[in-house]
Symmetry: C2
Subunit: 348 residues, 2 copies
């Protein structure tokens, strides 16, 4: 296969609506696979990237890092995948492969910087384009196997929302006997609840209101509290071993730190744009930690997919046609989605 | 022994200079020991307490939670100590003894709140008075044994400065192959350097200037950098497994977080009065943590004292007469002490 041109949805300029266009995909290298994309999830961070909220963006920008599809072609040296295999691609498509973190299978923390699935620059010096597109070419070492039994549509969001919550839950050893709170019941939060529950923890949702309480309990939460009620912070003081904060809006973290027990950790997986004021006394008094966590490595992402398949966990999704992407973005900003939009790529 | 009156130095009102006075010490209970105090260290937090910087204070206030002395009398049920034993008292003199943390030997994190050695309320409902005093009565379970070979004068500061730095170094498993930075070379910092070095770590001091560089290297540091030089933050980016911040002034923590490697932790042991602005990106990008740690439990404090004796570690001290306490406070505020003032209690 030589370089090809494929259909995609792209934002032509910062904050501009996405529109149909075509983009190049590179010729298949020795270790590359060509994926016929079937579904692509819409992540809140896609909107941040399109709006260049986190720095300069490269346009046209084709978002999408929750990709599920089928292998359509393989390079001459590919050993891990065969045509017809069900595969996924997450937030990165390459890394230096040489630093301590890459060697340890933590490519997301590559000290040279991972190569993002989109809005990044590939090793060939050309921009990377994401999953809102009919096809993608990716090195076999940066693809994931989607186990049988997991629908490609509900699997797509696992590649970001799933691993973003699975990784801290696994790293901080959540399991039976542990009390975990998930802050925010959105795309990330609803996966956090499902996974923490499947890991055997006692799970509490901390949401602004009780509006989604029934959903939360159905997804696996044992308890559900409204953070708009000050009594919540009194009642739950000193309760949790781990709090995973999926909310990227500004919260009073000191109030949430008060909900941790001794040696507890509050992990940020959402990223507010502004610095967060943290009281030293909120940490020192009970040896608490405030930490951050970012997606997961390839090995851990595969582990997460296998875990989800074993426990019958997919995302709760609303499948949309490509023409509805901009409308979906508007609804994501209003938190009006339960719980992830997934683009049916056949409609691109 | 019935209740006695003993000599002490006390601050009669918030921010008032300390003056000689007398205070009551309780009658010896079944498990109490009476300690003939020989030396009491001056901790920066004594000044914060006298000034009521951290909340309401009880006056007259007798500071002092770095206490070393000799057992002068024992209660009828005492089994751990005998008259003549060399003992110490640290930052707390009691706790609930029933919560998970007390049972685990982490009395400093007692969920009912430990009973501070001074400016606290004892179980008898009366105020506690600290070590700037000729005698103290304390339950044998909240005293420490000072090993032979450690001078009581250089041992006194171990009861706060020593354990405050030892505990996070031990908890975050500092040892050979680990790179540790100590921020600030004051009373806490100089103990942190000695202990981290004795634990086998590669130790870097991060100090505002290079003024104390020779001292730092003598104390056991392998490297010494000035934080007033922006090049320090470039050169050391991504270096440390653990940073122990002993400075209670406001620092730009995000700059220091940048010095951590993946999975590294920045531990606050000093406590700035204002909330610290923390950028979420400084944590998320490499799964870093910002944590706090407060002194240590009785078991761990004994472990620290034994470790220090084994490695010949005491504090670097300047012994003063009691009449010089107020002058010493002024010098502490100017960081003009290498590295701990210790009151010769015979002069009270």
């Amino acid at each position: 296969m030589t370089q090809t041109t494929v259909a995609a949805y792209a934002s032509p300029a910062p904050s501009a609506p996405l529109e149909r266009t075509t983009i190049p995909r590179r010729a298949l290298g020795e270790h590359d696979i060509l994926i016929d994309i079937k579904f692509a999830g819409i992540c809140h961070s896609d909107i941040h990237q399109v709006n260049a909220d986190w720095g300069v963006g490269t346009y046209p920008m084709v978002p999408g890092h929750e990709i599920a599809g089928v292998v359509a072609e393989v390079g001459t040296g590919v050993t891990k995948y065969a045509v017809g295999d069900r595969v996924g691609v997450g937030c990165f498509v390459d890394s230096c492969r040489e630093c301590d973190n890459c060697r340890a299978g933590q490519e997301q923390y590559c000290t040279s910087g991972m190569i993002g699935t989109y809005n990044s620059q590939g090793k060939d010096g050309r921009p990377t384009y994401g999953g809102y597109s009919t096809h993608i070419v990716v090195d076999e070492n940066y693809a994931l196997r989607i186990p049988e039994g997991l629908g490609l549509d509900v699997a797509a969001p696992l590649l970001c929302a799933g691993i973003t919550t699975y990784s801290p839950l696994a790293h901080w050893q959540v399991g039976p006997g542990k009390k975990v709170a998930i802050v925010g019941l959105g795309g990330l939060g609803h996966m956090g609840v499902k996974i923490a529950h499947a890991l055997g923890a006692e799970v509490t949702v901390l949401s602004q209101t009780l509006n989604k309480r029934e959903d939360g309990l159905r997804l696996g939460a044992d308890h559900y509290f409204a953070t708009s009620d000050p009594a919540t912070f009194e009642q739950l003081a000193g309760t949790f071993d781990l709090i995973v904060n999926t909310v990227s809006a500004d919260l009073d973290l000191n109030a949430y730190l008060g909900l941790l027990r001794t040696d507890g950790t509050l992990v940020q997986v959402g990223a507010p744009e502004q610095p967060m004021p943290v009281s030293p006394f909120a940490l020192i008094g009970q040896r608490k930690s405030l930490a951050g966590s970012m997606i997961g490595g390839i090995r851990e992402t595969q582990e997460m997919l296998d875990f989800c398949a074993e426990h019958g966990i997919g995302a709760d999704i609303e499948v949309i046609e490509a023409t509805a992407i901009n409308e979906a973005y508007a609804r994501v900003l209003k938190s009006d989605v339960r719980y992830r939009f997934v683009i049916d790529v056949a409609t691109i």
